[in-house]
């Protein structure tokens, strides 16, 4: 034991700041989950607040809008995951056909940029360009004879806007992993196919696509773990009371009820519900990714 510490103390010392911060700011809040099973009153404290068991969770499902919120979350997240998988793949395949290196670089530079801007900036931009009072998008639509669309004030259009703008922000960046795979394909495969007289389309369908499948399966499977993440950052910046019915998701609801309305226990219960389901889904998706494509992180 003593010799263990003598040999390894510098390692522990170097880890000390990280582990202390990690315990304080990650593990202590985990113990705070207990208030999801209480009727927490700040002035009484966590220890003495009355115990209510699963009442808060029950309330989430009997709450008039509870089911609607879960449905909104699943719907928005599902379409985001779907389009954020399909569009980057198509984009990567199309970009891979470009021979001019400079053009390729310019396109990449442009499409990666929105990923790095925050939803505050992009939300501000969306609110301006989607405005019904002469926003540029509605002005362009006007020239095609379409009348003002209330993108951020109509529930259906709001969902559409949330999904499309998220894909717009992320498709370029999501394509990187597919582009890296495409670059790694052995050129001699294409040369051989060419000698056999295969057209470019045939080459793509019988060489490129099959070789991309493993990474596509991994990305698709891993994204299952995020089926309850409909985009808190994004929605909180562009939503408003008019679209709560269609655009309110679990996270925004937990925030509004929990912090703004000071329903600490209920807000925590909603958060715990999401965390636990998310954790289970992540574990399942990693297992599947490992099984189907032999994928491992750590």
């Amino acid at each position: 034991m003593i010799s263990y510490w003598r040999k390894t103390w510098p390692f522990h010392l170097l880890l000390l700041p990280a582990i202390v911060l990690c315990i304080i700011f990650s593990y202590i809040p985990m113990t705070g989950i207990i208030i999801a099973f209480e009727d927490y009153q700040p002035w009484v404290g966590m220890k003495n607040s009355p115990w209510v068991g699963f009442d808060q969770f029950h309330y989430l499902f009997t709450y008039p809008d509870g089911k609607q919120i879960i449905w909104n979350t699943l719907l928005i997240a599902f379409f985001k995951l779907l389009f954020n998988l399909v569009i980057p793949i198509v984009f990567a395949l199309l970009l891979n056909e470009v021979r001019k290196v400079v053009f390729k670089r310019v396109v990449q530079t442009l499409v990666y940029l929105p990923h790095f801007l925050s939803w505050v900036i992009l939300g501000g931009i969306l609110i301006d360009i989607l405005s019904t009072e002469g926003g540029i998008v509605n002005r362009v639509l006007e020239s095609f004879g379409v009348h003002d669309i209330f993108f951020l004030g109509n529930g259906q259009w709001f969902r559409f806007t949330v999904i499309v703008s998220d894909v717009w922000k992320e498709f370029g960046f999501s394509a990187i992993i597919f582009l890296a795979t495409l670059v790694g394909i052995d050129p001699s495969l294409y040369e051989a196919a060419e000698i056999d007289g295969a057209t470019r389309w045939q080459q793509v369908m019988s060489i490129t696509v099959p070789l991309m499948m493993p990474i596509v399966i991994v990305v698709a499977t891993l994204s299952l773990g995020r089926i309850l993440d409909a985009g808190f950052d994004q929605i909180l910046n562009i939503y408003n009371p008019l679209v709560y019915s269609h655009g309110d998701i679990i996270d925004t609801f937990a925030y509004r009820e929990g912090l703004n309305n000071a329903q600490f226990s209920f807000g925590t219960a909603v958060g715990v519900f999401k965390s636990v389901v998310g954790l289970v889904l992540i574990i399942i998706s990693y297992r599947l990714a490992y099984k189907w494509a032999n994928y491992r992180i750590f």
């Binding site: 990650s26 705070g32 053009f103 801007l117 900036i121 301006d128 360009i129 405005s131 750590f298």
Partner: protein, 292 residues
């Protein structure tokens, strides 16, 4: 030969046009916002500005940079970015050194690793974190924006994978000269890792500059908001007034040119570091995804 067939030529032209449009689509909204911000107030209000300023003026920027509240937030945003990056990088680099060792050299490594990784999978959530910050009396303190996010497990994994690529000979020579681990980290690892550390620092800076939610909940007074939080409250009230939920709010107070100028200033630091980011992130992602 293949690339000269007629149908492939047609495809190439269509593809080039399509990709150009896609690229433009990603940048045009930003250009529009910028064009509005340097147009005259009358032109902006009349909605006649597209991608080129009408009645060029820098009035909006002069006014924005003369706004005390905006400047205060800008300063707090810069402060949290610098402080947050330094603290996070120091903590992450030190931890990554230990974690980069094999379990043979550092028994117990695995326990630490799982403690960190578990926090990526599960968290106590918003309200317990908020209660904790309250109990620690960190409300209204800049440390509430710096400390909770300091341990970035993702950065740690990238960093330890990089440390593992450093040749063992290099550090063994140092051990023979009588150097300890702290010495090796400082004089062997850090000098050869400067490029990686710079890259991760850049990403951490972008993260801090873009973070707005912690500012909104941990600062009880908008005077303490970093720039991103300030912009968040600005655009939310802007949205509500445009939608017609609230009328004559504070948002209507400032003109469209000033709002767009503020948004553009918020985006500017990211645009400035973007060329450097782009150079590295492809490498970073590939590195992170292929290593064990």
């Amino acid at each position: 030969m293949l690339y000269r067939t007629r149908s492939y030529q047609v495809f190439t032209i269509a593809n080039t046009i399509f990709l150009s449009l896609l690229g433009l689509l990603c940048i045009l909204p930003l250009i529009h916002i910028f064009a509005v911000s340097i147009s005259s107030r009358a032109a902006a209000t009349a909605n006649i500005v597209n991608f080129w300023p009408v009645g060029f003026t820098t009035d909006a920027y002069v006014k924005t940079l003369g706004n005390e509240k905006f400047l205060r937030s800008l300063w707090i945003g810069a402060e949290r970015t610098v402080l947050g990056t330094i603290v996070s990088m120091a903590v992450v680099t030190m931890a990554s050194y230990s974690l980069s060792k094999t379990s043979l050299k550092f028994p117990g490594r695995q326990i630490y690793m799982w403690l960190f990784v578990f926090t990526m999978l599960f968290s106590g959530g918003l309200i317990p974190s908020y209660i904790l910050i309250t109990k620690l009396h960190l409300i209204d303190s800049i440390w509430s924006l710096v400390l909770p996010t300091a341990v970035s497990v993702w950065n740690m994994i990238l960093m330890l994978n990089f440390f593992r690529t450093i040749p063992v000979d290099l550090e063994e020579a140092a051990y023979i000269d009588g150097a300890g681990h702290l010495r090796v980290l400082w004089s062997v690892y850090l000098p050869v890792s400067m490029a990686s550390i710079a890259t991760l620092s850049l990403f951490t800076m972008v993260f801090h500059w873009n973070s707005w939610f912690d500012g909104v909940i941990y600062m009880s007074n908008p005077d303490g908001y970093p720039l991103s939080s300030y912009l968040h409250s600005m655009i939310v009230s802007d949205n509500l007034s445009r939608i017609g939920v609230t009328s004559d709010s504070i948002a209507n107070f400032s003109s469209r040119t000033i709002k767009t100028a503020q948004i553009f200033i918020g985006a500017l630091p990211i645009l400035l570091v973007y060329p450097f980011l782009q150079k590295y992130f492809v490498k970073g992602i590939v590195l992170g995804s292929v290593k064990s």
